[in-house]
């Protein structure tokens, strides 16, 4: 059985002008030890999925339908105090923006220790310190640096410290929300390698959220491509990157300048992501799609299995 089963998740944000349909009918599974990548433009709802899983949506955000089964329990029906037991121990998250995710007036070690103290109240001070030191070592930071403040860390070290913090309560599922975006290529490569190592060493399951397909290609074995709040393509990483079926996925992959290969004029997807207050009818990609047909404007395509384990929501198939 899958570790995490998300079925028909629908999350909307209430604003004055109506409901912003950020996530609509999204379903996916994450098995033990598996890494799922969720890719899409900004505004496609990928971060909202992460926040829904942990039920830490900002004010106005509401899960309107669907179920999130984590280790057999439906997270949506849990009370707030039961949910607290899941956060950090069950599912933890590495937020984007390593620069701002830490409290500047507390020592790094104390911030990591705080997660342990809250989730395992019985642990003594000496044990906490020992575990913090171990965690820092796991992510490649000298344990002595636990007494430093965040400003004394470089960008890459802060990102590592955040990963250490996310691992503090031994979670089974780690969510990375744009974990490499604000970093330089070399530090980004180091961070991604660390995450891959951790996944293999600790048997972690991961959900990587990124707009950068190459980051997902490097870390994940399953991929979900999101467009305007819906999954348009879902499946095995190799088959999605080698044989993208949805026109949006094809455009997204083509828009990436490859460092190898000939110099070419870059191609792009014309148009803009839709307004989620009033999304286009039927297939939400139809205003930008090069292969648009009449049926695309009338009926909504459903996610269907095209090849083995490769799902796509498009009328072309």
């Amino acid at each position: 059985m899958a570790l995490l089963e998300v079925k028909n998740l629908t999350t909307h944000y209430r604003i004055l002008r109506g409901w912003v349909r950020a996530v609509e009918n999204v379903s996916f599974n994450v098995a033990q030890g598996e890494a799922l990548g969720i890719a899409g433009e900004s505004g496609s709802g990928k971060s909202t999925i992460a926040l829904s899983l942990l039920r830490i949506l900002p004010a106005g955000g509401l899960i309107r339908r669907g179920s999130i089964l984590f280790e057999g329990k439906d997270l949506i029906s849990l009370s707030e105090s039961e949910m607290r037991q899941i956060r950090w121990k069950g599912i933890s998250i590495v937020f984007q923006g390593a620069m701002n995710a830490m409290n500047p007036v507390y020592r790094v070690g104390d911030q990591i220790g705080e997660a342990i103290r809250i989730h395992e109240p019985g642990v003594g001070n000496a044990d906490v310190n020992e575990r913090v030191a171990k965690l820092l070592e796991t992510v490649g930071i000298e344990p002595g640096r636990a007494n430093n403040y965040p400003h004394e860390f470089s960008g890459g070290m802060r990102q590592r410290a955040l990963i250490a913090m996310a691992l503090a309560a031994n979670p089974t599922l780690l969510i990375g929300d744009e974990p490499g975006t604000a970093l330089d290529v070399i530090v980004q490569a180091q961070t991604l390698r660390l995450l891959r190592d951790l996944k293999d060493r600790l048997g972690l399951s991961m959900i990587m959220i990124s707009h950068d397909l190459s980051i997902i290609a490097e870390t994940c074995n399953k991929v979900a491509i999101m467009y305007a709040g819906k999954i348009v393509e879902y499946g095995d990483a190799v088959s999605i990157f080698k044989n993208p079926l949805h026109p949006y996925t094809q455009g997204l992959i083509k828009a990436f300048p490859s460092i190898h290969g000939e110099r070419v004029r870059l191609s792009s997807i014309p148009g803009q992501p839709p307004d989620l207050l009033n999304p286009p009818p039927a297939c939400r990609f139809n205003p930008r799609c090069p292969y648009v047909m009449d049926v695309c404007k009338r009926t909504e395509p459903v996610l269907q299995e095209q090849d083995k384990g490769h799902f796509v929501a498009c009328h072309l198939y």
């Binding site: 070290m157 490097e218 990157f241 990436f256 110099r263």
Partner: protein, 457 residues
């Protein structure tokens, strides 16, 4: 010091005594001590000569003042014809240290030859930008050493007409600082910047203002670079209002005139259509917050190109945008550059992008130039170990090529106290003793491919 142009105009050639006789005449005349001019010379076959020219003696300096950029010259003893593109006063010290330079005996103006390529738009020569470090009271009293952040340290390059020149490196490598110094938004600590053949490294704001028409900038963040209280029309019109329109009057002189409202509106409309914000009427009266990130960056591009500049600095223009929109903005800029024959200094950490759009790439590390060459050469056949590390760290959108290669460890060291010798030696896999002690010079290893590494010298 005044610009060298002026100092030369005042000097009457015949009355200048020989160099030795003038020594010790006080600081004011020091720059003229040698009477030599440093000249870079691009010949028709593209090779570069540099040397010192006796600037004040008869016949060698056609205009009796400064050697003027963009006219054809012949170096008599070498026998080559080309264009002079770097002229500056050399003082005695530089003269001695530059013994590798050729001594041009004579240089004379010849008829303009369109076959010889035009000189560069920007030439940067040994530019330094150091920021003094603020220190506490006790340190100021008890310690004499000055501490400086060496953001840019002795960098030289030039950008040709119509060229897209990319500056790449990690954050902290000094690429943004260099961009600001080249635009003279900040004054360099040392070295010279020649813009369209004019030394602008010591110009004041008033002297720079007419040149601003020719040099523009596109910033990284379209959410912060546009004034939220101005409508798009005003944002694009502002450079036109400030700079006015250039017109040539009856005597053939250029004159600046204020722009009328109607003309202004037309120019704004034209420039909005150029960046594909059509119909322009729909966008002209919007505020920046009513537009998406991609549209805002288009406005920033329109604003940069509205004065028809010959040089634009684009500082990470697409790093804040979504991948699917990036290509559009980049293509737009490339098209505008081709259309107006402008040059771009493209600052980016994305080497894949730089490879696809730029003609040449320079790699910066801790304020030093590590490698310089054509885009294909630098990315496909990188020579410097740092460039190699940068390129192997770029993620590839292919799940089957999982990165097995080594990623170099560590992070960029502090520029306050940069490593001795080669600045990369603390992270380099090939470090040997020489790297620790000796700074490698930038040498041409292959044709037009320069690298600063002891492995190649």
């Amino acid at each position: 010091m005044e610009s060298p142009v002026k100092s030369q105009t005042n000097a009457e050639p015949e009355k200048i005594p020989p160099a030795e006789a003038r020594e010790g005449q006080g600081k004011k005349r020091k720059s003229k001590k040698s009477g030599l001019k440093y000249v870079q010379f691009e010949t028709a076959d593209g090779s570069l000569l540099e040397g010192l020219v006796q600037a004040n003696s008869k016949g060698q300096n056609p205009n009796g003042r400064d050697l003027v950029f963009d006219k054809c010259y012949r170096i008599k003893d070498v026998g080559k014809i080309g264009r002079v593109w770097a002229v500056r006063d050399t003082d005695a010290n530089e003269n001695e240290s530059s013994n590798s330079l050729q001594q041009f005996a004579q240089i004379e103006e010849v008829e303009d030859d369109p076959a010889i390529p035009k000189g560069p738009v920007v030439a940067v020569d040994n530019v330094k930008k150091w920021y003094p470090l603020k220190r506490g009271f006790f340190e100021t009293v008890f310690s004499r050493d000055e501490m400086n952040v060496k953001a840019v340290d002795e960098v030289s390059f030039h950008i040709k007409r119509g060229e897209i020149f990319a500056l790449a490196g990690e954050s902290g490598s000094g690429k943004t600082t260099l961009g600001k110094v080249v635009l003279r938004l900040q004054a360099p600590t040392g070295g010279h910047i020649l813009f369209l053949g004019r030394d602008i490294s010591r110009l004041d704001d008033r002297g720079l203002k007419p040149l601003r028409r020719q040099m523009q900038v596109v910033f990284q963040d379209p959410f912060e670079s546009l004034d939220p209280r101005m409508i798009i029309k005003e944002i694009i019109a502002e450079p036109l209002r400030v700079q006015g329109v250039l017109e040539t009057d009856k005597d053939g002189r250029e004159r600046r005139r204020r722009i009328g409202e109607q003309e202004l509106e037309e120019r704004v409309k034209k420039s909005l259509s150029e960046v594909e914000l059509v119909p322009p009427e729909e966008f002209m009266y919007r505020f920046p917050h009513e537009m998406s990130g991609g549209q805002r960056q288009r406005v920033a591009v329109a604003r940069a190109f509205v004065l028809n500049p010959s040089f634009v600095v684009a500082d990470e223009p697409v790093s804040m945008l979504d991948v699917s929109i990036r290509a559009e903005i980049i293509n737009l800029m490339v098209d505008l550059v081709r259309k107006y024959d402008a040059s771009i200094l493209f600052i980016s950490h994305d080497l894949a992008l730089a490879k696809h759009i730029s003609d040449r790439i320079a790699i910066l590390y801790l304020g030093k130039m590590m490698e310089l060459g054509s885009a294909e050469a630098v990315v496909d056949l990188p020579l410097h170990p740092y460039t190699q590390a940068l390129i192997s760290a770029v993620p590839v959108p292919d799940p089957e090529s999982k990165r097995t290669k080594d990623v170099i460890s560590g992070e960029i060291p502090s520029p306050v106290d940069p490593p001795s010798g080669c600045r990369f030696h603390t992270r380099c896999p090939y470090t040997h003793e020489r790297c620790v002690n000796e700074q490698p010079p930038l040498v041409e290893v292959e044709k037009q491919h320069y690298v600063a590494c002891h492995l190649y010298s």
